[in-house]
Subunit: 259 residues, 2 copies
Amino acid sequence: MITVVLIGSGNVAYHLAHALNSSQKVNLIQRYARTDSHSSDFPVELPLTHDLEKLPIADVYLLAIKDDAIKMVSSRLDNLTGLVVHTSGTKSIEELQQKRKGVLYPVQSLSIDQKIEFRQVPLAIEANSPEDVFLLLKLGKALSDQVYELSSAEREKLHIAAVFANNFSNYMFSCAAEVCNENQIPFEILKPMILETGKKVQYMSPLDAQTGPARRGDQEVIDIHLCELQGEQQDMYRLISMAISKLYKHKQIQNGKKL
Amino acid sequence: MITVVLIGSGNVAYHLAHALNSSQKVNLIQRYARTDSHSSDFPVELPLTHDLEKLPIADVYLLAIKDDAIKMVSSRLDNLTGLVVHTSGTKSIEELQQKRKGVLYPVQSLSIDQKIEFRQVPLAIEANSPEDVFLLLKLGKALSDQVYELSSAEREKLHIAAVFANNFSNYMFSCAAEVCNENQIPFEILKPMILETGKKVQYMSPLDAQTGPARRGDQEVIDIHLCELQGEQQDMYRLISMAISKLYKHKQIQNGKKL
């Protein structure tokens, strides 16, 4: 049984509390929150403290707090013998002031109003001793089916990839919604296609899943679309289409096909 | 009962044949294909002809063929009294040479190796008389739960939106995969997040679903990421981040919030 103290009240703390409490291999013994706000909404009933200096002894202290607060909160966790772990995708393990430190980053965009199967959320872990890597691996596997050991440098690269995969793809949906709105076309009509786009890359590489005028090298359609767009949308359409065209032209040359 | 002749052998013809044949309100009486190739793979057994001049009498002739072939095939369909309909997202209704003409465009990226619930595929229809709009509406509703009447001009705008929603978002997944590959990080780790990105906008507007450094205005993280990227990926990261930052700054001003 791994004993855990959870620090935080936000989205990540919320989903982690649920997952920790559902595991037979974890004993979630206490939660720290700065204030009582949101406490009644919290999914798991467990002893709550507002005093960082009086945390009970535990194997792992999980900091599910804002990136900018990690350094400060960590500096206030004195005299702990357990492993102190943050859950940020962007911050280095070195943000933590403790000797025994680690990272457990859930690779998912988590919101409170969203039900999530936590066992399907990949976890990226890191620690600075083999024993603590082993402990985090054990904790990670108690919560999720996919646990990866990544260094802080690798996690930073993963975060860049996640910005493309999540933030930027969502922005493409925003642009689509804007084009629909401007032309009184219901955005509903694109929702099944959007869902399918995400589903397709579950079993197919995005390189193979690519379709559309830029992939086909259909400059006539690209030019028509560019004429209809303006400003940033036009710049974006041009830049992304050029990148796609170049990529697949290059692949055709590699494969010895006629252009 | 609407009698239909299907013309084509590709992805769209494949999925349409299946949907048409599953409907109690449709009688799919014949298929035309240029050659016998792929015929053994075709999902529906029905009379096949290679002769465009000898098509049987039907209510609707559905052209599920390449965009560039529509004009030519249509010009060879002489003396038909039924409604001739193409299934293209990009081509105008005017590509068809007949007096009675229409469009029935399935708004989904369809591949042969992919199972699809056709009733969930939105259909955009168009015809040039109220009677034919009514006929296509009836045919559309026999196949799908979502049928929209859109003009050729609206369909062109919808296609631009679909390029953003499907082609460009998929390219963002490609960029993410490339960043992963370059750093020996398994792309698997991002797949649940990608799926969730598509799921989220089913019940939430993409404007509200947006997260990430650009939405937060976190210039420090943006600058770190830009330093790590090169070439097109860097250009794209910069352009998209600027567009997101600008959009949400503008929204904050609109809402009277402090920047």
